[in-house]
């Protein structure tokens, strides 16, 4: 323990903090609960004497400020008289659980739509981080937290974040690191971040690691040599289109085997590109954050709920065949209506949310809600879309009758209804 309860640390300028208790410790440091003017904060203190470079980088990150609200970003640097350093950050709110807790099955997301919401936030946060010229460098299962009810995200462990192409000694965690980093050919940067981001997304959607399959059987024990081989020297994607040597193992990789088949084709392609083509061409063949945002939003848009078991399956707009039976229970898939606007297609069922890019193709606010599908309380068979866009909407039914729906009103969900959201944006309800 570097600090004790009730230790008072002077921050200068009459400001000070008081240590309350140890919250936890990791490889690099200890994290304490402290109070400052009665307000609680988390204080991380490094166990080792960190380099001047490390300190400078941390200070610089603090001065430049948080790239997006999803990062639990360092707020203030502390220099202890004995040469140790630390920083203050906000406490992690109690509603967040670790990504590990989700992966191991302990805390499931409330629904698949909420899981996708979290994935989308993750991609949006990394887009912001990368746009600000940073790379994260150490993406792994321990860095992320989630609210299982809302899909809100919190990214912790932000102290290794540096300006892209600069490295302060952390290479990452095995199983998440890009192969070129494992092999020692490159230092972490935006492109290796993208690889690791895809690993995290694959884990989130399939509950498995993209490179762990039959090849695990070749090793008596997964030691350093085996890891180098599996994740660095010769990684083979478990769902490689032509190389079938590393398929997930039946009876062991159960979750992946059951989940992968029901991902939309475009999501599978995006993984394949990153995990196969992206091995050789790290700069051009790794799915970018913006691409993920588009693809994951399309996935969320086409979810529909099984009336028998509640499983959320895809409609199958891009598949060879639309989903006919529920993958989870085998009962017939629901017959739902959908809204098409430009390239977007959104299935319409109560509780479904609509997001900004649907009506504004320049928007990158993939989690900004602009409407919701609701159900009439008195007549449950009547469904409608409540939009909260600032302008009126015009609708025309098959008989040619035009109606103006004022802002905040409800668009009825009826077949072949044409909708004019604004001058440039038109849509139609189909079934």
């Amino acid at each position: 323990m570097l600090l004790n309860k009730n230790d008072k640390i002077d921050l200068g300028g009459g400001d000070s903090i008081v240590v309350q208790k140890l919250l936890g410790e990791g490889g690099q440091g200890e994290v304490y609960l402290v109070t400052r003017n009665g307000q609680p904060f988390a204080l991380k203190v490094y166990k080792d004497f960190e380099s001047e470079d490390f300190r400078y980088n941390l200070k610089n990150n603090i001065d430049r400020g948080v790239p997006s609200e999803d990062f639990l970003w360092p707020k203030q640097l502390l220099d202890f008289t004995d040469g140790h350093i630390g920083y203050l950050m906000d406490l992690r709110p109690k509603n967040y659980v670790s990504f590990v807790s989700y992966l191991t099955g302990k805390t499931p997301f409330r629904s698949r739509a909420v899981l996708l919401h979290w994935c989308i936030r993750l991609c949006a946060a990394f887009k912001k981080l990368h746009e600000s010229g940073y790379s994260y460098q150490d993406l792994n299962d321990g860095s992320f937290f989630l609210d299982p009810d809302t899909g809100d995200l919190l990214i912790c462990d932000n102290d290794n974040v540096t300006a892209d192409k600069k490295n302060l000694g952390i290479l990452g965690k095995m199983r998440y690191m890009a192969p070129e980093i494992v092999r020692g050919e490159q230092l972490p940067d935006i492109h290796s971040d993208r690889f690791s981001l895809a690993v995290i997304l694959f884990m989130a959607l399939c509950l498995g690691n993209p490179y762990e399959g039959e090849r695990l059987k070749q090793y008596d024990v997964i030691d350093e040599k085996a890891e180098y081989d599996l994740y660095g020297g010769n990684p083979v994607f478990t769902f490689h289109k032509t190389d079938r040597s590393n398929r997930p193992i039946r009876g062991y990789h159960t979750s992946v085997i059951r989940r992968w088949p029901y991902l939309p084709l475009y999501i599978k392609e995006a993984f394949h590109r990153t995990f196969v083509d992206g091995l050789a061409d790290r700069e051009n063949e790794r799915t970018t954050e913006l691409e993920w945002l588009r693809l994951l939003s399309a996935y969320r848009d086409e979810l529909m709920t099984c009336p028998s078991c509640g499983y959320e399956m895809i409609y199958g707009f891009e598949e060879k065949q639309k989903t006919a039976v529920c993958p989870a229970c085998g009962k017939p898939a629901p017959a739902v209506a959908w809204l098409s606007v430009g390239k977007h297609r959104v299935t319409l069922e109560p509780g479904k949310r609509l997001y900004a890019p649907l009506l504004d193709k320049f928007s990158s606010q993939y989690n900004q809600e602009i409407g919701e599908v609701i159900q009439n309380k008195k007549n449950l068979a009547l469904w409608g879309i409540r939009l909260n866009t600032p302008q009126d909407t015009a609708v025309r039914d098959t008989a040619g009758t035009v109606k103006i729906i004022p802002q905040g009103g409800v668009i009825p969900i009826v077949q072949n209804l044409s909708i004019k959201f604004n001058e440039n944006t038109k849509g139609e309800i189909q079934k």
Binding site: T104, G105, R110, G142, M174, G184, Q186, E227, Y262
Partner: protein
Amino acid sequence: MSEERMNEERMTGDRMLGDGIARQELNLMFIIDNSGSMAGEKLGAVNNAIRDVMSIMPEVQEDTSDAEIRISALQFSDSAKWVYSEPKSVSDFKWKDLSPEGGTNLSAAYSELGKWLSKKSNGGQMPDIGGVAPILILMTDGLPTSPDWETRLNELKKKGWFRVALKYALAVGINSDEAMDVLNKFTGNPETVLKVYTAEALRKAIQVIAVTASKVKSNSSSKGTGAGGAVVNNNEVAVAEVAGKLEEVDDIEW
């Protein structure tokens, strides 16, 4: 349908398609001398120490998705016997106090250990698929009474799982060069042989080794310049971290 109920059903829906990630097994194995000479304070300290460490292991397990920790304990006196017939998960492993009896048949312990350090399909207890190198912690207070222990050790050393294991030995209240030599031969590294003189030191040593090594072996981020690649020897990292933590503990000697 109320909203709550709908959520519950949805959750079930998604979870029907598998409800957790497949994890590598990480075996943590205690090898405990319960011969007559351990009677009293020494064995009491061991019993308490293991029970204590078991209360922290669920937290360690909770923080890692990469490995599933499996715990087993081998007791040896006149003969050697596993406390459970197979390695147990952190939540299923319940400690039952050992009682002192008989001699110190280290040979029998090595033979039993050897049997388990094979794949399940070969009659052992190590995973058939993957698996992380195990952590072995041997605790004893004296010289073996079985003369052929070194032959048995040499057989054990032929096992891949033994070679890659992270091996610790705790000398409980002993200090003879001869006895230390036995332990040094087990770990192959004098740095991982510790002499403990008090119950408190034993408790801390077991805790630090079990917790730190499990964390490191299932959870480490690589540090380095990238020159030799990012592959780290987890055992070396664990030994360094354990050593750092044990510096603060009194009554432990290296």
